[in-house]
Symmetry: C2
Subunit: 324 residues, 2 copies
């Protein structure tokens, strides 16, 4: 585990106006880290602008301050530096990445193992459970204030990226940071309720249909579930309603690799992959289809194809990997 | 939050042979606390006998040392004291409760809010997330060793009784204890995998059928799911396979109270109830049917009845409570 580089603290201490960005389709860690760092910098008297390509969706709009994220690129010449948090790859900065990266110095803070370096100053620590854990340490290093709202955002970041402290990335440090944040007033049940008790009846009906599609292969070591356009239409749900569904096939004890194949739009098929242990590197599988990710969690997206074709090609590759 | 009473430490320090018991149908907190306290006392040179009415079931048989729990009552005259952990009520000690309670002094350590006092010396702290959190403090007070196995059992106790740190009982202290236990070598993903990734394909099929039964009442504030004998037979599953199913209706954001009605044996119907916030006290509802529990989690069991009748009577009561 690494500490915040002194260079990053010095740049931020010296800056008056800071631009904060994160990756597209931001999750709880991305938004929580961005919002918390914003508050910490403001507690030190900095002016902060939070940028995101799209408005925050309904899954994360409970995060305090998320309405302050602007979707219009501000005048970039006015900033003394920019920070991108939780962004594993410059492409994930979105359509405006080339313009964003012109802000100098551009600081990158990320915890992804497969991080692809970009920007001017980097702090990448794959030993961290979440970028939020790094922002917590940076806040302390800067001498900034972690008030209730920042603590709430950081706690959400940790819970979101560790599946509520269930993933292997959860360390003694993660839990110690979580303990400190709860000591600052965050209510764990409140955050967990927002992140996990956000089902609708329609979403439960969709889950039922998706579970009905479950198929097992390779001596019950491979589990595949599907979500078709028909299922979305029938239940009045959208692609985002399938969040965490991949955990169901993954939770079968015999399963080494789980796949969730979904028709995210007409003619677009997205695949989420999860593996357990060291048997299957799903980043490699996803890579073969033009996607990417981590060893145990990866995904890819294909256009102009159909779900049956993707399923067949994926199965061939997964079975070959398990047999090799 | 209270500290371990000096009296309990003194009794245990002075004892040579200690009997350790917990409640019937033990969960992760019950077994984890019992097993961990056993190891801590052994590290202090005590002889320990672990008693349980039934052998440990397949859900918790991963706990190190669980094979040492004896189901035959040992010669009770040989013990200097007994400790019951996590047991809210003397009846929950099981069929041998009268004989067990003759061991003097009988120490009671529990965290349940509705604890019904029994035994000679009590430490009841409803401010604790789990009895395991209390055993951790007791271990430190005794100067006992918390080795890897004890830490593993205590971590399981915490995760099990907080739903992986999601429930409102989770405090800064809970997370600090968890952090310390992980520092002793416990791997969070390993414990979470054992507790939560223990699905079988049959169990997922059962979940699908149970989700199909979902009904909503009272402006989507009441959610009811059912598990019938037919569903168990069709999927080759048993009552224990429904663990955590109640969380699905509970997770619907509009829901204030969720019920899971199941035919646990022929002519026996068990009902699990969960509520959110302060609107419905499900312990009161369960009490009206001869059951009990906490404000937000309770249950009851009825014999010689059928699932439809229970459903109708329960709904009447829940609707009346929400309207009052």
């Amino acid at each position: 585990m690494t500490n915040p580089p002194a260079e990053i603290s010095e740049i931020l201490q010296g800056a008056k106006r800071v631009l904060l960005a994160t990756h597209i389709y931001p999750d709880g860690d991305a938004l929580g880290s961005q919002l918390a760092l914003g508050r910490v910098l403001e507690s030190l008297g900095k002016k902060v602008v939070l940028y995101g390509e799209e408005p925050v969706g309904h899954l994360y709009d409970f995060l305090p301050g998320c309405e302050r994220i602007v979707t219009e690129l501000p005048d970039l010449s006015t900033f003394d530096c920019a920070v991108a948090v939780d962004c594993a790859d410059p492409h994930r900065l979105g359509r405006q990445r080339d313009r964003l990266l012109k802000v100098k110095p551009f600081i990158m803070i990320d915890h992804h193992a497969g991080h692809c370096p970009f920007g001017d100053v980097q702090w990448v620590d794959p030993g961290r459970s979440a970028t939020g854990e790094m922002i917590y340490d940076l806040a302390l290093a800067l001498g900034g204030e972690i008030g209730y709202e920042a603590a709430y955002c950081l706690y959400t970041a940790l819970v979101s990226d560790t599946g509520s402290f269930k993933y292997s990335s959860t360390s003694a440090k993660t839990l110690q940071v979580a303990s400190d944040l709860v000591g600052r007033g965050v209510k764990p049940a409140e955050v967990a309720g927002r992140l996990f008790d956000n089902f609708t009846v329609n979403r439960l009906q969709l889950l039922r249909l998706v579970l009905e599609s479950l198929e097992m292969f390779g001596n019950e070591r491979i589990a595949v579930i599907l979500a078709t356009r028909e299922m979305f239409n029938k239940t009045g749900t959208i692609s985002a309603d399938t969040e965490n569904f991949i955990n169901y096939p993954r939770s079968v004890s015999s399963v080494k690799v789980a796949a969730f194949i979904k028709e995210s739009h007409d003619n677009v098929v997205s695949v989420s992959l999860r593996s357990k242990g060291r048997d299957v590197d799903v980043a490699e599988v996803a890579g073969a289809f033009g996607g990417g990710g981590h060893r145990n969690a990866a995904g890819f997206k294909l256009r102009d194809t159909d779900i049956g074709k993707v399923r067949a090609e994926l199965l061939l590759r997964l079975e070959a990997m398990l047999d090799s």
